[in-house]
Symmetry: C2
Subunit: 207 residues, 2 copies
C-alpha cells in the first residue's frame, strides 16, 4: 500500500507519518523507485502502537523510540526482558531520601519479591513516597502493604497471561500491557474509589 492508504488505515495524517519516518519511530517502506515506497501490515500495526502509547499511555515520542528499540531488539532472552522493557518505559529516576529507599527495600523483602538491586522502579517508588511525605500525606505501612498486595495480584495475572514463543510478540505484549494496563488500573481505582465513597458518605449520584 502507498502512504495515503497507510494514513487511512492507521488514522494518522500523512504529514505525521513522514515525521515519524524521519524520527525513526516507523521503519521505512520498501523503496520502489526514487519517489515511491510500499508499506504493509507491519507498518499499520506499528503506527497504531505508537499512537496508543502516546495517547493512552501518555509516553513522549523519545520514550516511545526507546520502547520500540527494545521491541525490535532480536537478541534478548526472556530472562531480563521485562526489566529492559520497563527501563525504556519509565522516566529518569529522581534523587531519593535514605528513609524511603530503606522503606522500599524492606517492603520488597517483606513481600518476598525477587527484584534486581538496580531496578529504576525502586528509585521511582521511593521518589513517589518522598513526594507524599513532602506534601504532608505520608502513606502509612498499612496502606502501602495493601497497595503492594494489590500490585502483586495484578502483576501475577499480567505475567501469567503473557504470550510465550515468539520473542518479539512477548516484548510487545510486555510493553503494551504495562503501558496501557496502567491507565486501565488507575481508571478502575478511581471508579472503585467513587463507589466506596458513595457507600460511605452518601449516594454520590446526582440528585
Amino acid at each position: 500500500m502507498w502512504i495515503a492508504e497507510l494514513s487511512r488505515r492507521a488514522g494518522v495524517p500523512v504529514a505525521t507519518i513522514k515525521y515519524y519516518l524521519r524520527e525513526g519511530l516507523l521503519p521505512p517502506g520498501e523503496a520502489v523507485g526514487a519517489t515511491r515506497s510500499r508499506y504493509d501490515e507491519t507498518h499499520v500495526r506499528r503506527l497504531r502502537l505508537v499512537r496508543a502509547l502516546v495517547e493512552v499511555g501518555g509516553l513522549s515520542l523519545s520514550r516511545v523510540r526507546d520502547v520500540l528499540a527494545e521491541v525490535d531488539e532480536e537478541s534478548r532472552e526472556l530472562h531480563g526482558l521485562l526489566g529492559a522493557a520497563h527501563g525504556a518505559l519509565v522516566p529518569e529516576p529522581p534523587v531519593v531520601s535514605a528513609e524511603s529507599k530503606e522503606r522500599v527495600d524492606r517492603l520488597i523483602k517483606d513481600q518476598g519479591w525477587l527484584v534486581y538491586e538496580g531496578s529504576v522502579d525502586r528509585a521511582l517508588l521511593a521518589g513517589a513516597l518522598d513526594a507524599l511525605v513532602g506534601v504532608g500525606h505520608r502513606l502509612d505501612d498499612e496502606v502501602l502493604q495493601a497497595y503492594a498486595q494489590a500490585a502483586q495480584q495484578v502483576a501475577d495475572t499480567d505475567v501469567a497471561h503473557l504470550p510465550v514463543g515468539d520473542r518479539s510478540r512477548t516484548v510487545e505484549a510486555v510493553v503494551v500491557v504495562t503501558a496501557l494496563g496502567g491507565p486501565v488500573l488507575l481508571a478502575l481505582r478511581r471508579l472503585a474509589q467513587q463507589s466506596a465513597s458513595a457507600r460511605r458518605y452518601g449516594t454520590n449520584l446526582p440528585s
Copy 2:
C-alpha cells in the same frame, strides 16, 4: 517570610514563584507596601503540592489549577467531593466504541459498584480498553476482573484512610492520594511484574 525565603523553603526558584503567582497557581501574599508581600506556611505547602502534582503526578499546570480550585472550593460537601476532585485530575474523555462502553458498564454492575452514570472514568476506561484492542492485545475478562478486584482493594484502603473533619484537608487528601498514589501503585506493579517474571523465567538478576 519574604519571597526569597519561600523560594528556599519550597525549593522553587523565585522566577517560578512569580510565574505561578501570575498564573493563579499560588495565592498572593499579604501586601505590605507597594513592593513587598509577606508569605506564610500555607504558601510553602501549596508550592510543594504544586511541584509534587507536576513532577510526580505528571499533571499539567492547567490541570493543577483545576485541582487547586477544587481544593479551595469551600461549599462542597463530602458527598460528591471525590467525583469532583477526580474530574479535575483526569484528561478529557475520548470517543469510545459501544463494545467497550458496554463492557465497562457490565464490569461495574458485576462488581456491584455504585458509580455515577456520567463519570468521566467510565469513558477513560473504555478508551483504554479500545486502545488495547486497537493494538491487538485485548485484555480478556479474566484479566480485567483481576484488575477490578485489585483496584477495589486499593480504593477501599484509600477511602478508609481519608481524613474526615476538616473539609479542605479531605479534598487535599483525595487529590494527593489519587494523583501521587497512582505512581506508587504503578511502580509497585512493575516491581511485582519483575519478580513474577524472575520466578517464572529465570532469576532476572545480573550475572
